[in-house]
Symmetry: D2
Subunit: 417 residues, 4 copies
């Protein structure tokens, strides 16, 4: 049996093949793109990538690089320092607008050019020269993509020839002493960054790396930390789609970023990375067809951030009589043990009458457990123990090894029930 996701994606493309939009005209080299190209790719856990259309067609990454270079700057200098240089507020402005916080001169956010230029300058230590800084950017983006990315020199040259506005922005930031590098070197490095070549599959993998708490699903490399991914995805949510942030959030609901070469990249935490590509742009500078593809995926696949995840966590509990005739209370938890499911487990356990009835907590079907889950489980064991119960943890996979059950010495951890 072949997985039908590819077929589904092909159907999506067929439905989104309308003709609206214009090629980017600000960079001559981009105006040479084939306007009919159309591609989509979805990367899921385990690194499986589904794709349809011109998924191997290559194009310069342009603004799609912004969230990833932001992640690199955060990794190199921390959230606090980077936020002191570039704010995280939506600007309501088009991508090339001059949008800075009046008092400090900080660019409004890292998804508009003036912020992205600043972020480029923040990668690596200040003493790096321009070439070293670019190599660090390239290495980082390559780690997100899971393969070494190369520069399209023709695009780079064309970009640099039309960089007057970016030069203006870089000088402006420099004048407020947000950075002290040479503005021309920053623009050159940034133009080179924008000229790195990707395909639609790369976008899906890069998105899934953000969506997987920073671990590349193909290579397994932990590129950046979970905290950084949270920061980057948050900023993509409020600032990624320029001045249509509200529309995108209500309609699509996937943290995303678009680029003038026609790509759109989405990342739904824990679930999927999405790439879509088609060169014709709408008035906001977003690819008309790639946007349509994302709207369709969100609606069809139920990927909207605000869709309550179908709740797969279950807790079953009951008083039972065991083999030797003794009474026992038994709670079985399955799925993920986090705040919501742990609370449900605790709510069940709160019905147990204090006393000597033994309590068995079976976590053998728990797939994962986060910090809160661990703490709440530990607390349950301590409280039950304090109430007089003996507590048995059925934990064949050793998930509870780090659970602090206090001095609940009566707790037994069993390999199976």
């Amino acid at each position: 049996m072949q997985v039908p996701v590819d077929d589904y994606l092909a159907e999506v493309l067929a439905a989104c093949r309308q003709d609206a939009g214009e090629l980017n005209s600000s960079i001559p080299e981009l105006a040479r793109a084939d306007p009919d190209q159309l591609a989509v790719a979805v990367c899921v856990g385990g690194g499986r990538v589904y794709a349809a259309g011109d998924a191997g067609a290559r194009f310069s990454i342009q603004s799609l690089s912004k969230p990833f270079v932001y992640a690199l700057a955060l990794r190199d200098h921390g959230v606090g320092f980077v936020e002191s240089k570039v704010d995280v507020e939506p600007s309501g402005d088009p991508f090339n607008e001059i949008s800075v916080e009046e008092e400090s001169g900080r660019p409004r956010n890292p998804m508009i050019n003036i912020g992205a230029l600043t972020v480029h300058a923040l990668v690596g230590e200040e003493r790096l020269d321009a070439a070293q800084r670019f190599e660090r950017v390239r290495a980082g983006l390559s780690a997100f993509a899971g393969r070494r990315l190369e520069v399209d020199e023709a695009v780079f040259t064309s970009e640099l020839d039309h960089a007057h506005r970016n030069l203006a922005l870089a000088h402006l930031v420099r004048s407020r002493e947000i950075f002290t590098l040479d503005p021309h070197e920053v623009v050159e490095g940034y133009s080179r960054q924008c000229s790195l070549v990707v395909d639609t599959r790369d976008l899906a993998v890069m998105g899934m790396t953000l969506a997987s708490a920073g671990r590349n699903p193909l290579t397994g490399e932990q590129v950046v930390s979970e905290q950084i991914c949270r920061q980057v995805l948050s900023v993509m949510t409020t600032c990624g789609m320029y001045n249509a942030a509200g529309d995108w959030m209500t309609d699509v609901g996937i943290p995303a970023k678009s680029g003038v070469s026609g790509g759109v990249l989405g990342a739904l935490p824990g679930q999927a990375g999405i790439g879509a590509f088609s060169p014709r742009l709408d008035a906001h500078g977003n690819s008309t067809r790639a946007v349509a593809v994302c709207e369709r995926l969100s609606a069809d696949l139920g990927l909207h951030l605000m869709s309550p995840p179908a709740d797969g966590d279950t807790v079953s509990a009951a008083g039972v009589v065991d083999a030797d005739g003794g009474e026992q209370y038994r709670a079985v938890v399955q799925g993920a043990l986090h705040f919501t499911s742990a609370e449900r487990m605790l709510a069940e356990l709160s019905t147990v009458v204090p006393g000597s009835t033994p309590v068995t907590l079976d976590v053998s079907r728990v797939a994962t457990m986060n910090d809160v889950g661990r703490r709440m489980l530990g607390e349950a064991v301590r409280r039950l123990t304090a109430d007089g119960h003996r507590v048995d943890l059925v934990d064949p996979h050793g998930l509870t090894a780090e659970v602090d059950t206090g001095d609940a010495t009566q707790t037994r951890v069993l390999g199976s029930n």
Copy 2:
């Protein structure tokens, strides 16, 4: 055993009891609040509410009413019509700013006053008189809270005495013919709406109703549709915390709304409704301590929208030899069957060599299934059948009743394995 969430919440309050901020001064009646009050409440699935502090202290709902009245307008007129009247873009402006889209005169979003006044006017049919419209608003908000809410007449009178700015906003909207009701009646109705009295528990329940796809967790009433909740939560995400949207998203990551009486309300889809309350406000008009409480809850409980949900969906699959010696392929799915988990199931099944080996799909441990899950499961059955397999669905709970398996007549649905 007592559930330890209450204790935890009490600790949170203890940590957030700093003194910063000022009482609201724009409405004299609010300036009479006890500045030391502090409360928190969390409502989870099943309608359990945990609370600490002055959780029974009552205060006027103020701007916390905005997302809910927006939901009522959406219910009465649909997303398209309401968006033609009020946009969904963040304004970057303080709550009482005059922020309209230049060309159409549409208020920027329903979370700033000018938008909320317009939304109030949109509740119910146009022919309603002011009293009828307010009663419809009250009934709707009461349904969200799960109890009948009453107006604080002293606050209402004080509010109306200081409504010059709201009158300005309402006349402004009227001048662009966004609505044609009398602006004074709209402001009176809106002031009455803002004067409805709630406590912190109510906020948690109201938030959980939005987070539960519109079903009130206490009363079970389906107040509004899932689609409406998605729209409302999206708008809260980008516009709920006024001009600190980006900071809130990166730091807290919970769709939220604040009000000048000192409340903050959060709603994390599928997981929790949160209420926090303390009357002292910061410069943005948000409660300093309630904001601190929310930051703490998000960090401690792992409630950030961008935290990949701990993955609790598991699929296990294996070729097995059954009792009568025949070979068989068996896949067991547990948790929720949605796109991500269904894809994983399909990826497993794609390894099955086409032929006559019977395939058993055991969904007896699946807790829930959404449309995509159903469609992908159906597709799997059809494709396996086309490959020559006989497919048995183990589905004791009848979850697959609506799954379309095509003309896969060989499919048997088994009550148990």
Copy 3:
């Protein structure tokens, strides 16, 4: 001989009879105007009014009332108080924009609606009721026009029916406590003010009253002080033509104000008041043909503020031998004695060698003298006296009565030479 100015004005109208522009559509009653009407009038010193075209056609005064009601408020409360309520900075905004100084809430200037509404509220003492305030406004405008102006009730009613935006503005100003009157009464009074009926001749007379330091050239009434006129004309210069202030200044260079009924009013200090009228408006809301008429008048008649006035002040001076053989120094000044001409006189006198030569200053041809002229003349007499000269002032018209010549007891004032 007939004065040819009327003929000239008729030629100007003939040259400006192009068809561009649209009738105002915001107030239905104004949309009923005859779009082909066209008139011009010029009022000069002595109250002579030249006119051509439909100079007797009547129309509502609309925004043309703004500078005059501003003058009344200044007269009633002084420049300092009025500036504390309404600023004098150009807003760069269209006439109906919400343009207030952020911190104080002061409207940007009195020529945009939000400022003009505020100014209306400032006329007379605060205790006046609405009818009394309006009568004070009417009386003041009538004094500027030199005849009692009446309200067009149909326009007033139409205006009030479409006053939503003005109501918004008035409530907004009220919310910042710039005034504490009832906003609805202010808007009603302001609408009535805008509905006063004038013709193009009235505009010229009203303009000339401002240009004549506040004295109505027809009635001789001193309506407001010279200082107030200076303030009003200054504000008309920077704010009178809405967001085309710079263009108007470079092209026309006459302090001016336009109104949606199609009038434009200009006032060139000391020289002329100008009225022009034609109902079709351009995109800024200015009458297309009335603007063209003003451009033409400015160019043809050399009325640009920045045209150096042709210099008519002359000073002749010479050493002469008088009848009895004695040497004498004699300076004759003609025209106006102000800083520039007085300086020229002093420069001439500075060439007189100190000693006993008598000096005669002949001011018999001086037409007028201002404070500076008087002071500089007095200083000249004192200094010449100190140098040893006897000074004779030839002053048959008694212009030097108030000149302080110190203890220059040798000065003789002669009725003629």
Copy 4:
């Protein structure tokens, strides 16, 4: 006798010697100025310059160069072309703001840096290299000052070291293709322009050149045309004092420009050029003491643009009986013959009953006559002739040589009466 203007100016300085304000800190070299310096100079017709204080102290011209270089660009390319590149509207923004017209990218006006940089680039033909362009600027400014101005190399170097913001502005303008020169060369040339050294007397002479229709009062050189001066003075009026244009107009009422080195320059058409200098600046970047000096001069000397010029034009007319017993009508005009005075003459003549009575127009005391005066005088002669009169022009100075009296062959021009 010594002219008392110098003494007066010394008094003004004494009264304005308060300590408020801070030295400019954006350019280190300027921070080295002596904060106590204070000077004033006034230049009047004939090139007389009065001065007091540190009138010989030298400082870099900075933004005071802007109106003059604007004049040079206008001279080289005409008003239409230059306005297509730089608009003339007040921006309401501080001097270093990014203020461009959205659609075209044109800087808002030539008095803010972004406009002044563009204007620098417009001087001379496009093919000039940077050194040639600067020499053209220097030559032009020197012509305005009446002496060759030199660059302060230390200031220039310091300026260029801190030119990041100007570089940003120049790249921005370049990106909109308002000019196509190299932005760095433009900023270098502009910095050099700003580093030209002047003293307070120079400012007064430069201002008087603008106020004298472009003729330098010292050298007599016609630097630019009257039309250009009108354009430049108009723009100074609305845009010269940054975001305090309205305040300056109402308070001072003299077209002016300020600079960060502490100078303020004023130019009152036909009357005076003013220079004031003191290095301490207020929050707008204007010299606190130089501003106070200008306010004082305006008030004391009656120099406000909106003060109606004291009317020195006189017309006397009467029917007289001449020596040989014949009746005659005689009108004597003195002062300047322009629209206002010519109209007065015509109004007098309109009382003459048509017939054969000879009419004598005595213009022997007319000092100057402009085009309008000439045309109106010609028209008077033609109409009187048509009415049957013989007209005698008494014109010993030949002022009426260019007056077109039609075929009024009966007109006699007499050398004296």
